[in-house]
Symmetry: C2
Subunit: 332 residues, 2 copies
């Protein structure tokens, strides 16, 4: 064991976001589930892209956004994920390494293109995502760099990895490795539909392998198949050592077997684009946790990072989060 | 002749912008000329991109931005320019056609990648651009669609086209075609360094072929090699039928042989990114002109469009300009 080289290593789908502003009619007309992430094939991706207004390309991916957020806080971080050696793959690689993140996953040289997520942002700031996984499905157990996992205080995994079959195996291998090296394993449930797709294996995984669980209200209720948030809270505190549950404008609740902390959201003038809110909450929380902060401070750092990312288009922070934390009296 | 199918056909370099926020030290350290456009080769593009912070990809290109602006005003417009059939080429094509612009130029199937402009935005909102022309240099006379030029009220050309040799020939062919069909030819000088590179041929071109000239203060002074704006003004009114000269926060001056109109800039809360200011001024101006508006109204429409684009990152309008014009009492 020893002092970890990385605070956090993230494993996730390596995705470039393609963001457009649309109205609710566009979602209806194109049969896009609002505020959710839907997997689409290449053909549907082409059709939807043709129908979309002018767009902006920004690196994304759930765990990748979290890792970018950690770097913006000044944490040492690593990312494992699969791009192709195409232009969007270069964009993804550039953006994550420009933050100082270690990203050594070899790109695919053939097969599907780098993954894209078509993000439709409606006037209420909600994002509705259609993801073509592309090269991401090529991530397998062999892509897990043992040294990186062994040297990361926390290995952070996104639930979306459960969709591509080989990535699921990569995920399991990384979790086992982390635990063998006495490191912690964190999981985000990613999306309520993702929970519906994989509920049973998520329940087993959380019981057996997960130290820190991130979920929003819809996800945690879907996981335990309950209607009321407080019921889900009682389930999760018996099931997982530490859970951080986000409730949008209502803030977050951090729960362990013994403690419950309710922390307010950071107020913002206007919700521009909700993309990345949960990812950046996890970044702030893990930044605090790996720096030895108390749980309430971790939640406040999470809220702070989420408030920054929902104030502009795109799921990566635009401001140095370390500076924002210092200004908010949350600096280390 | 007859009623034109397009208000404006634009011909220009087809470029995807890669935008990052940097400080002035970054420009110094990497030897980037501030507030100018510098041509770079592929190797330098790779080196600079490696050094750049996290970026956002947005379609750009000077004349293409103007054409996008015209479409956002509700004008019928066409664009001619060369991309490669790669991912960034698809991005460029998507974004311009999503606005309803006719863009039928065949993509290159081999050779250099789609052109990229690395745009460094400093805290003062100024942009410093390093352009790798890539596939753009493949634009030649054969790419000029006679039918499009014949059916466009104005053919709009960017001075930057004088850099790739074959594009210069394409430019000349388009100008001749437009005039033969009784249409107007508009030119933007693009950049003071571009004027330095091509002064003599620009002077001939303006005398022989150009009906409407767009330039900013630095460009028009560079063209006539004078130190004082008013001197340049006296030169241009004898040299060109109609010139629209932009002076950043000081507004614009529209000049013909007989008339001079001084129009104020539209005030904005904060200059975020100056990229596209001149391009969008030209869009508003040409939208007004082709709709038969008086020259002062054309200039006001130009200022309005410029004010929108400098209030956010990227050189394409985010808001429907027709609506902004109506709100400002400038609707048709």
């Amino acid at each position: 064991m020893g002092e970890p080289r990385f605070a956090v290593a993230g494993i996730g789908n390596a995705i470039v976001d393609v963001l457009s502003r649309v109205d609710d009619e566009f979602l209806d007309h194109h049969d896009i589930a609002k505020s959710a992430m839907t997997l689409i094939d290449e053909e549907r991706a082409a059709t939807l892209y043709d129908a979309m207004p002018t767009a902006v390309e920004i690196s994304g991916g759930s765990a990748a956004n979290t890792i970018a957020g950690l770097a913006a806080f000044g944490s040492k971080a690593a990312f494992i994920g699969k791009v192709k050696n195409d232009q969007l793959g270069q964009v993804f690689r550039h953006d994550i390494t420009a933050l100082g993140v270690a990203f050594d996953s070899a790109p695919a040289t053939r097969g599907a293109a780098t993954a894209r997520c078509l993000v439709m942002v409606t006037p209420d700031g909600e994002r509705s995502m259609s993801t073509f996984l592309g090269a991401s499905v090529g991530l397998g157990p062999d892509d897990i760099d043992d040294k990186v996992i062994a040297e990361a205080g926390v290995t952070y995994l996104e639930g979306y990895l459960w969709d591509p079959p080989a990535a699921k195996e990569a995920f399991k291998r990384a979790a086992r490795l982390a635990r063998r090296h006495g490191r912690q394993v964190a999981l985000t449930l990613s999306d309520a539909f993702c929970v519906e797709r994989h509920r049973d294996s998520f329940l087993d995984l959380i019981r057996d392998e997960v130290d820190i669980l991130f979920a929003n209200e819809a996800e945690i209720k879907a996981l335990y198949q309950v209607e009321v948030f407080d019921e889900a809270l009682q389930h999760v505190r018996k099931h997982c050592r530490l859970a951080a549950l986000t409730r949008s404008a209502a803030g977050s609740v951090v729960v362990t077997g013994e403690e419950v902390h309710v922390v307010e959201a950071v107020k913002i003038p206007r919700l521009v684009d909700a993309t990345g809110a949960g990812d950046l909450y996890a970044a702030g929380f893990l930044h605090g946790l790996t720096a030895g902060r108390d749980l309430a401070s971790c939640a406040r750092l999470g809220s702070l990072a989420a408030s920054e990312v929902i104030s502009h288009m795109g799921a990566r922070p635009e401001k140095p989060l370390a500076q924002l934390a210092a200004e908010a009296g949350l600096g280390s």
